[in-house]
Assembly symmetry: none
Homo-oligomer: 411 residues x 2
């Protein structure tokens, strides 16, 4: 079974935004054993859309479109699919009712152009969109399949990875391509590759490294008649990778570093609090992205200015006037303050200079101190990160999580 992906949107075509949905969709197709043979990006132009869809349908068994399902005049995908399939659009009363309800709950004024989102080609089935107004579509006509997905990320991702993935698994039936991703922190990509290069020679499963911001993912992919058989091929490879990489593997598939770390704390019945300066809440934001984190994460102090370091965390005047807010001493006092004043087993502090300029000329851009207060005492380390302001901030949060996890592992 072959598929082509058609991304619709002038802003994509002109390079104003990067298309991450088509790669996501290609990976889901591959997982389901469907070969993606071509991806096309076109603008919001009805004639070109219809020609592209017809062209794709003449080659492939299936076409997946991304974007252009919204309410505005630019949103032409639904109409284009109907034309390409020689089908007609019909208004679906249940969809209209749902739309009107969303508008009323959100207290947004209803305009009739929204009705377009309540239509579908007669050969199509609407896919529920719990995160937005535009439903997705699955059309089966004349032996071909057209699937339409909305463009906004929070709508696209759950729909592609949920109902569409299940549909694809069902229509595909036979061989599956199944992957498992091992997530690694604290080791660079080339070092990981050097350690596992022997396993990268295999063909089923294959092992491939992907560099992520401040971590490495190893993707193990097997082809088999079923997901269970693929898993049976992957299991021994995972075992060998774990022998080589040990506790550097912090999680599998979608487990984030913050989720893995919080889970370790939860198992130990311990709690963590944060004291953030340059990251301004980013570390807390990551920890609270995990559902149920309130069992383990008590909270934090965003002490972005000097007076708050004193009033919220008890950093002394001597430290603030002496070594200053970006110093080993300040990171130490912030971590202690977070642990003691906020009431946690561990206090994690981050203070540094994220740039673009040095406030006082004495701390280089990228210099960050990390404090880790534990029941046994406080440790402080420093690193100088390179990059833009938000790179430095993000790397700081990653470093803090790696170090907290190391501590829990007794390293």
């Amino acid at each position: 079974m072959t598929a082509e992906i058609v991304s619709v949107g002038t802003e994509l075509l002109l390079g104003q935004i990067i298309d991450t949905h088509a790669p996501t969709m290609a990976r889901i197709l591959a997982d389901c054993g469907i070969s993606c043979t071509r991806r096309v990006t076109i603008g919001d132009n009805m004639e070109r859309l219809v020609a592209t869809l017809r062209d794709a349908l003449s080659r492939a068994d299936m076409v997946v479109t991304v974007g252009g399902l919204g309410p505005t005049q630019d949103d032409i995908t639904r109409d284009g699919i109907a034309v390409a399939l020689d089908d007609e659009l019909e208004l679906v009363p249940e969809l209209e009712e749902r739309l009107r309800e969303i508008f009323s709950v959100r207290k947004i004024k209803w305009v009739d152009s929204n009705l377009r989102q309540a239509t579908k080609p007669k050969s199509g089935t609407a896919i529920d969109n719990p995160n937005g107004t535009a439903p997705g579509l699955i059309c089966e006509k004349d032996g071909k399949i057209v699937i339409a997905l909305p463009g906004p990320k929070n709508e696209f991702n759950p729909m592609a990875d949920g109902p569409v993935r299940r549909y694809l698994e069902r229509v595909q039936g036979g061989q599956v391509i199944h992957s498992r991703t091992l997530r690694i922190c604290g080791i660079g990509e080339s070092a990981v590759e050097e350690m596992v290069k022997e396993l990268m020679q295999g063909s089923n499963p294959t092992v491939a490294p992907y560099a992520q911001p401040a971590e490495v993912h190893l993707r193990v992919t097997a082809r088999a008649a079923s997901r269970a058989e693929a898993d049976a091929l992957i299991d021994p490879v995972e075992e060998r990778l774990r022998t080589i990489l040990g506790s550097a593997i912090y999680g599998v598939n979608d487990t984030t570093l913050e989720a893995a770390t919080l889970e370790m704390l939860r198992e130990r019945g311990e709690k963590v609090a944060v004291a953030e300066s340059l990251t301004g809440g980013w570390l807390g934001m990551r920890l609270t992205s995990v559902a149920g984190s309130s069992e383990v994460f008590v909270g934090g102090a965003i002490t972005y200015t000097i007076p708050l370091k004193e009033s919220l965390l008890g950093v002394s005047k001597e430290i603030l006037d002496g070594p200053g807010p970006v110093s080993e001493e300040c990171a130490r006092a912030m971590a202690e303050g977070a642990r003691d004043r906020l009431g946690a087993t561990y206090g994690v502090s981050l203070t540094g200079n994220a740039g673009p300029t040095s406030d006082d000329g004495s701390t280089p851009v990228g210099l960050v101190y990390l404090g880790l207060a534990t029941p046994e005492g406080v440790e402080v380390e420093s690193v100088t990160f390179r990059g833009q302001r938000d790179d430095i901030r993000q790397r700081s949060t990653q470093w803090a999580l790696v170090k907290l996890r190391d501590k829990l592992l007794g390293r």
Copy 2:
């Protein structure tokens, strides 16, 4: 003049890496006044490559390929272009000499498969590649142009933005396409479109809306002989849009809502502090993403658990035991606590239930209270957001920024 971009590479097609080169190339084409009408991604397959190139050349004046110029068997672009143009490859002695020299300097063993990188179609001119072994190509034949660029980022970027950009400017001879983006908050996409639909009928400049998470961007694009002339066409349209949308336009081009809001505070000499529960630091993280934010943003309290709402912000036991942490009363006390205890002109609080489940069964998932403490008193509002945990959290931070900005505007 029209162009299509063809990205070549199985790893791109399967979504294993994200294609950022095609967007870069599309922006360069637009800068030079060349319309990019389609982008295609195909794998390392000669038959499909030739068919795709011929197809693209039948429609467009120019085709730009990215990737597949290296020495391995997978690198088929050079051969594919020769076939598609009915041309022949020839070995270029100077290219061979340069290649052999690179290998000798780098002390890498020469293998004859490298000779492929010293060939070019007879109709083509090689583009020097100071950062790698594979030269680029510009072919002009039968009134069509084919440009081939290498895939590695450090080779692609300087070649695309250097010799290729200069070549495009020369063949195009003048016209530029220039855009300005007006950023709007607090109004939905379809309402914005309804308000400005008359201006969306224009052809030069064009006006097009783009929905972003919780905001709308209006992109005004003009074609003219120079950037200055394009700006002169855009200016009166911006003026009319500002008359219609008023202060809902918070910024232009890259200005974020957090940057615009902080700038308003800075001009007034006022400061803001945050008290975050469900967002866990996200609002603080956004505010501190702006360079120089410490002049205006004092800090915040991440009171993720109930005891910290009391100890850091002074929320009373009566409120926490009565209406509870997700309540109008708690949002009010949190905002007051942030303003008074952290020492700011404005205190912004967010408390709510981000899901996936309701902690106590009484607060629905997505219910969020926003408190805004000002010198004149405290206001509290509530909204119920739909979506995943992080959507609800992100929308909450956006809502807080919109409401703070409204307050500064006297609304």
